[in-house]
Amino acid sequence: MAADIWVVADQWQGRLTDITFEALALGREVADALKVPLEAVLLGHGCASLAEELGCADVVISVEHPALAEPVPETHAQALAELARQRQPRAILIPATNTTWGANTLLAALLDVPGVNFAVDLKAVDGALEARCVLYGGKIEVRVQPRKEPVVIGLWPGARPADQGRSERKPCIEQASVSLAAEPKVRLKRYIEPEAGEVDLTRQDILIAVGRGIQSKDNLELAEELAQALGGEICGSRPVVDQGWLPLSRQIGKSGLTVKPKLYLALGISGAPEHVEGMKDSAMIVAVNTDPHAPIFNIAHYGVVADALELAPALAEAVRARKG
């Protein structure tokens, strides 16, 4: 329907991702403010049953097509473009995950409408849509209003709590069809699984995370000792894994794991958005960094401006003393 707010559902391995529900929660707020329906768009092949979970939306537009079975952003963008031309929504929220990466830009280009990236919030201001985006590695926020609609918004994780977007309500499900090229030029051949780590970090209560601030592989020992003292596991941000100091199975962030432990102790991690999205929902976040302006302090519960290499051993000792 014209002027609706759309949320495109993001899937991973046959299940809807948390960020889909975050987007629904945000979309719900905006749709209610503008007094228009919220519609969820579910693209895929053989995943129609997922539509039931999208009850936060008023309507689910469910599209089944063999070409949509594979997570190819440009195929999905083409499908969305066809739907959008028919139905003229006002805003299309696409969760910005690696899976969908580029789809929002392609969709905006196909429709010749504005695209917005790195959005962390969307609201209606005097009837106009205003998005808040975080750029420059998290250092600058920009608020923008599209001059044309629909606007395609790439929504960053963390806009709203995922639970706010879950609902028991059964939405109204509409089947829709699109015509897509039989031979897409981008095909998924196979998934490459990460080497299984010995431990499932997503089930750990206590995680000690290391970033570039630990400076060298040798200093990992300090973090490991602390993890041992606390009864937790170590993990790391992307740079640490890229350097080979930790395996990919211990990477936290956009391309890595999303974790929600009871304690996330971030040592020498600056808090780039790609990392934060993987741990922001941790129950207690303690950040240690020598830079008092590090963005991590904005999302941490407790912060210490200190050298992680000095604090880690001191804390390990204090914990051991405490535990007796």
């Binding site: 060298s216 592989k217 040798d218 350097q243 020598t290 050298d307 051993p313």
Partner: protein
């Protein structure tokens, strides 16, 4: 008097035999030496023909007086005596050979000249004793890293034969009743011979026989010498003569991997090496477990030259084939190897050339890469904005003058670590307060200061050094000042010795020199004496590189602390392990004991409660080391500035 070369042997005229033997020996010797010279000629040039007075003085001290060997007194004295014995015997040999070959020369044989006979006897006996000492040391009390080779045994035997044959010959003459000048040793040997049943009538023939044994042995030695490690006998005097008069740094180049890409002087070190192991014993990299042995490096150079002599061609490589990159990167450029080497070898330049080549091929570890990229972009290795360089001044009660904007007497070049490392910034502030207290007119360059480039240069990034130097010189050029003081010995060295100042260089001093001046002239009055036992670590770039040993000690004495020296002090100081860009590199797995850990243990063992440093990198390395070595309760690390501040606080 007898002419040992007259007469016949096996029907042939003895003199003719002597001629033949001499021609063969000298021919082979000359051919081999010419081969070496040809190989060296294929290498790159390096001018070492300047400042002859200084060179000759060094030659006298290190070759004639064997100064460096005397650092290990017992073997030092023994070797000095062997050396002079050798000098006299070599002289006597040539004298004898000339006389033997050319009987018409109006000269006696060597031992027929009284003073020569005395010298030969004296040095003969003394030499034999010294050789015995050397042999016992080598075979029963060998110091670590002394290369045990068959060569060594052969040489000891040859020299013994040479000396013994001469003394026995003299003894034989004395036994025969011939008039023989000397100091009585000949008579002693005569007695020994008599005791062995040699009759006086056999004296002269025995003397002649000994003469021939002696000459043939030396001729044999002459042929053997250029094929053995005792090539060093020939090469080392030249090594010292053409040695670098200051800490050596190769001229800008694209680095070297193959023989022809090194300079002749770099190759020459391989030829002069006696494989004594002094460099290895001093090397912090080797002693920590890194795969770098300076002696092995020299050996590889020599071996590469030998291979080139044997098979010709241009394909003889040092890098990769003989010396691995891990060894090349392990060097901390502390110069202990060069300081200890008695034959003037220059190990570090070879490593720097190898580093330059690895750098050109992009083969360097990620950490180092990052540090260099940061240096190029931000002018500091910390990767922080250049604008933050002077942030350390916040927290001072006064404003430090901006030397870019107003003239100052003292331009203070802080260096990266003192400016950017949060643990060091309080010490830098303390220095500023001291300068202020002393009424110094000083200023800093604020954001215009760049890393001096010293460590980038030693890591093999010559182009980066040039860029940083140019930027710093431009900043200096715009400022007006009379003298430069620096908190960082690495910067001191670069600014003082390696920068290309266009219009003359202002005097550059280290802050310890300045502080001593201020204390000595009472511009920094001391208000209290300090307690406790302290020891002082001589930074490599302040001590070995720039000869500043006294000023810090004088400060500490003036401060009243009880001072103890560590065994490895002064020019034998043991590097903290940060130099040569190593502070930007990862430790290799399997390190037994890091240099800094060894040093803090040494300080504690010397009985000191405080280890005093005069270099920001030392401070950082030793603070870490005292934790990893478990000495946090026993040893405190302080910069000399901290102590001076304590003593001068009102």
């Amino acid at each position: 008097m007898t002419d040992p070369a007259a007469g016949t042997f096996l029907g042939l005229p003895a003199r003719a035999i002597l001629w033949v033997l001499a021609l063969i020996a000298f021919g082979l010797f000359g051919w081999r030496v010419a081969g070496y010279i040809r190989v060296l000629a294929r290498a790159r040039p390096e001018p070492r023909w300047d400042r002859w007075p200084a060179r000759l003085k060094r030659f006298a001290l290190e070759v004639l007086f064997q100064r460096k060997l005397l650092e290990e007194p017992l073997i030092g004295v023994a070797h000095l005596l062997i050396f002079w014995a050798f000098v006299f015997y070599a002289t006597s040999f040539f004298w004898n050979l000339l006389r033997g070959l050319l009987p018409f020369l109006p000269i006696p044989y060597a031992d027929q000249a009284a003073w020569m006979a005395v010298a030969l006897e004296l040095f003969g006996v003394v030499g034999l004793v010294a050789l015995a000492v050397a042999a016992v040391r080598r075979y029963f009390f060998a110091p670590p890293r002394l290369e045990q080779t068959r060569d060594a045994g052969i040489i000891l035997s040859l020299i013994t034969i040479v000396l013994l044959s001469s003394l026995t010959g003299a003894g034989a003459l004395a036994l025969a009743g011939e008039d023989h000048a000397g100091i009585g040793i000949a008579s002693l040997f005569a007695g020994l011979l008599s005791g062995l049943g040699v009759a006086p009538a056999q004296g002269v023939p025995l003397n002649v026989a000994m003469w021939w044994v002696h000459m043939v042995t030396v001729l044999g030695f002459l042929v053997y010498l250029p094929y053995s490690k005792h090539l060093h006998l020939l090469a080392s005097p030249f090594g010292v003569l053409f040695g670098s008069l200051e800490p050596p740094m190769p001229a800008a180049s694209e680095g070297a991997a193959r023989l022809e890409e090194f300079t002749w002087r770099q190759l020459f070190s391989g030829l002069a090496c006696a494989e004594c192991g002094r460099c290895d014993r001093a090397c912090p990299a080797l002693n920590s477990g890194y795969p770098l042995s300076p002696k092995e490096l020299m050996h590889h150079v020599k071996e590469m030259i030998m291979a080139s002599l044997a098979s010709g061609g241009n394909g003889h490589r040092l890098l990769g084939d003989r010396v691995k990159p891990e060894a090349v990167w392990a060097c901390v450029t502390c110069l202990a190897c060069i300081q200890r080497c008695p034959v003037g070898n220059e190990h570090v330049p070879v490593l720097i050339e190898l580093r330059r080549r690895l750098m050109a091929d992009g083969e360097l570890e990620a950490h180092l890469q990052e540090a260099l990229t940061n240096l190029a972009r931000y002018g500091n290795s910390f990767g922080q904005s250049a604008r933050n360089r002077a942030r350390w001044t916040q927290g001072l009660e006064f404003k430090v003058k901006d030397a870019r904007k107003e003239p100052v007497t003292w331009l203070w070049f802080t260096g990266d670590y003192a400016a950017y490392d949060p643990r060091l910034q309080p010490i830098t502030r303390a220095a500023a307060r001291l300068f202020q207290r002393a009424g110094l007119d000083f200023g800093i360059l604020y954001e215009a200061e760049q890393n001096s480039g010293n460590d980038a240069r030693r890591a093999g990034e010559e182009g980066l050094f040039e860029t940083l130097m140019e930027k710093n010189l431009a900043a200096f050029g715009k400022a007006r000042f009379e003298r430069i003081v620096t908190t960082d010995p690495h910067s001191l060295h670069a600014l003082k010795n390696e920068y290309r100042w266009q219009n003359g260089r202002a005097p550059v001093v280290h802050y310890t020199e300045l502080l001593w001046e201020l204390i000595r002239t009472n511009r920094l009055p001391l208000n209290r004496r300090l307690n406790g036992r302290v020891t002082y670590h001589d930074p490599c770039y302040l001590g070995r590189y720039n000869g500043v040993y006294e000023a810090p000690r004088q400060i500490l004495h003036a401060l009243g602390a009880e001072f103890v020296e560590m065994p490895r002090h002064g020019s034998r100081s043991y590097c903290c392990g940060a130099g040569g860009g190593r502070i930007w590199m990862e430790d290799v797995p399997g390190i037994q004991e890091r240099p800094a850990e060894s040093r803090v243990r040494e300080a504690a063992a010397a009985g000191a409660a405080t280890l005093v440093v005069a270099c920001p990198k030392d401070w950082v390395m030793f603070q870490d080391a005292r934790k990893t070595a478990g000495l946090e309760d026993k040893l405190v690390v302080k910069d000399i500035i901290e102590l001076v501040e304590e003593a001068t606080n009102p």
